[in-house]
Amino acid sequence: MTRLLLPLALLLLLLAGCGEKEEPSAAGARDTESFTVMLDYFPNADHAGIYAAQASGEYERAGLDVEIQAPPDAAVPLKLLQAGRVDLAISYEPELLLARDQGADLIAVGALVQKPLTSLMSLGDRAIERPEQLAGKRVGTSGLAYQSAYLRTILEQAGVDPSTVKETNVGFKLTQAMLSKQVDATLGAFWNYEGVDLERRDRDPEILRMEDLGVPTYNELVFVARRGDLDEVGASRLRRFLQATARGHEALERRPAAGVDALLEADGGLDRGLQEAVVDATLPVFFPEDDERPFGYQDPAEWAAYEDWMRENGLIKRPAGRAPLTNEFLPGEGLDPGTSGLG
């Protein structure tokens, strides 16, 4: 691999200053421990708080040399986490529960986004304003089993006969499917991302949120760790990471623009206007509704209800085992055993 160093060096010279991945600071690296975080998707406004924490030196001050990686697709983060290739992964609550059902010893250690972002979306003249209107329509999803289950639950709650609704797998081309009128509505697009994007482009999206349609509420994005990594050293690193991330989100709330700046440095292909609008839309759900609760708080009762719903819909087979989450690494937690969820 050393023979690649020369062309790689030349390449880096060429690219100097243009859209380079944010490199973790090497200053004072003596005292910092390395910590790799894999995002759930490409860097976007959902991650603004994390990038804000990094840009303002929060991780460094916490003694961490954080490397943020973006996965090529949504299935990769948990796989890499299980393989021990990263220290922390951001994933989705249903994906984590599915992985655990397959035997993966993973655990959710904090919620990045408190509420569902998945929504039922439709455009302009074909807008679905109430779930009853879904009768006889075509709905596009990304083909994920739990999305089909969401749809079934929604139809049930609205009293619509599911056989009149045609579900189509449009992969990740949800927006394109709506624009080309291949489908009447999609289930899977995020209200804070695609919804805001389409709104800004005057496509007039109609957005219905999952938790308003009868699906039990859940945390859309969660931080996931390998249980085996949580020995004394690992636990300390994780705690410091989550604390620094909490501070990053607080900084984001005070000055959203700084977070977006940091985000754009990570990937110059992002559109500033869009990302700022998405951060604005998402800020409320970065923090728990109950402001007594720390950043990243996961409600065990909500999780239990969601897990039950998954079991009822045949998405997970095993009976409930050890708790899938813990709050003990959140800022201010771990000192009060009553608020952890570890069984």
């Binding site: 243009c18 859209g19 697709d73 990769v76 290739r85 080309s180 482009r201 992002l270 559109d271 869009l274």
Partner: protein
């Protein structure tokens, strides 16, 4: 000339389709919008173009080196032929979209997995064409060299290798055309730069015109690469008698 005219007509039709035909330009941008994106986003796309070009060039170089070595080994030694032939053929059957994520899993997000994947995609056409070219020599010339007591090495160096150049170039030109595809798949499996990556990001933000611009640059890269090798072929292997006089 007629080719250029046909292209212009198609472009005009496309432009009209979007402007007048009611196709959402988030789905299909007009050619003028794509051109605009090419210019506006040039600071973004230029470094990505550089990255992907590097991946392609290094991967192609690796494929030529490996393919050349394997082809010569297979030609010269029958044990090597028996051992390597199934691997050579197998390399072509490997579905890149399946292999790419695995390679990235093992090698990470850097330059190395991209080079490996491009090399994998390019290896077979280079190796197999060179191998066929080495075998396919003028039997009279071969007889001549034998009668002159040429050593195996002399026969390889003076007869088989130069004679195999046209076939080798055929293989390299094919590889050049598919190398870009390999690089894009590699980037889609894990990258933070490159035109394939830019494509994904652009699509994820409904920046469709930019996505088309990136695609166009990829197409341009493939064409330029092919053309460069075709030119080189004319310099280096221009002695080839072709059946149609005046052909390329």
């Amino acid at each position: 000339m007629t080719a250029a005219l046909i292209v212009l007509v198609l472009l005009a039709g496309w432009e009209a389709l979007v402007r007048l035909g009611g196709i959402d330009d988030l789905l299909l941008p007009a050619p003028t919008q794509v051109l605009d994106a090419l210019w506006t986003d040039r600071d973004l796309l230029a470094p990505d173009l550089a990255v992907t070009t590097w991946e392609v060039l290094l991967g192609l170089a690796a494929a030529i080196a490996a393919g050349g070595a394997v082809a010569i080994a297979m030609h010269v030694s029958s044990e090597a032929r028996r051992a390597l032939r199934p691997l050579v053929i197998g390399s072509q059957a490997v579905p890149v979209p399946v292999i790419a994520p695995l390679v990235v899993l093992v090698l990470g997000f850097g330059l190395a997995p991209k080079i490996l994947l491009v090399a994998l995609v390019c290896f077979f056409p280079v190796a197999i064409n060179l191998y066929d070219g080495l075998r396919d020599t003028d039997p009279d010339a071969r007889k001549l060299l034998r009668s002159l007591d040429a050593s195996r090495w002399q026969t390889l160096r003076m007869l088989e290798l130069p004679g195999a150049l046209p076939s080798a170039f055929t293989g390299i030109k094919i590889a050049a055309a598919v190398a870009v595809i390999g690089a894009v798949f590699a980037e889609w499996s894990g990258s933070d730069s490159g035109l394939g990556h830019a494509l994904l990001i652009a699509n994820g933000q409904l920046a469709t015109a930019r996505a088309f611009a990136a695609t166009f640059l990829l197409f341009l890269l493939a064409v330029c690469l092919y053309g460069a090798f075709a030119l080189l072929e004319r310099r280096v292997a221009g002695w080839t008698p072709r059946s149609t006089p005046g052909g390329p």
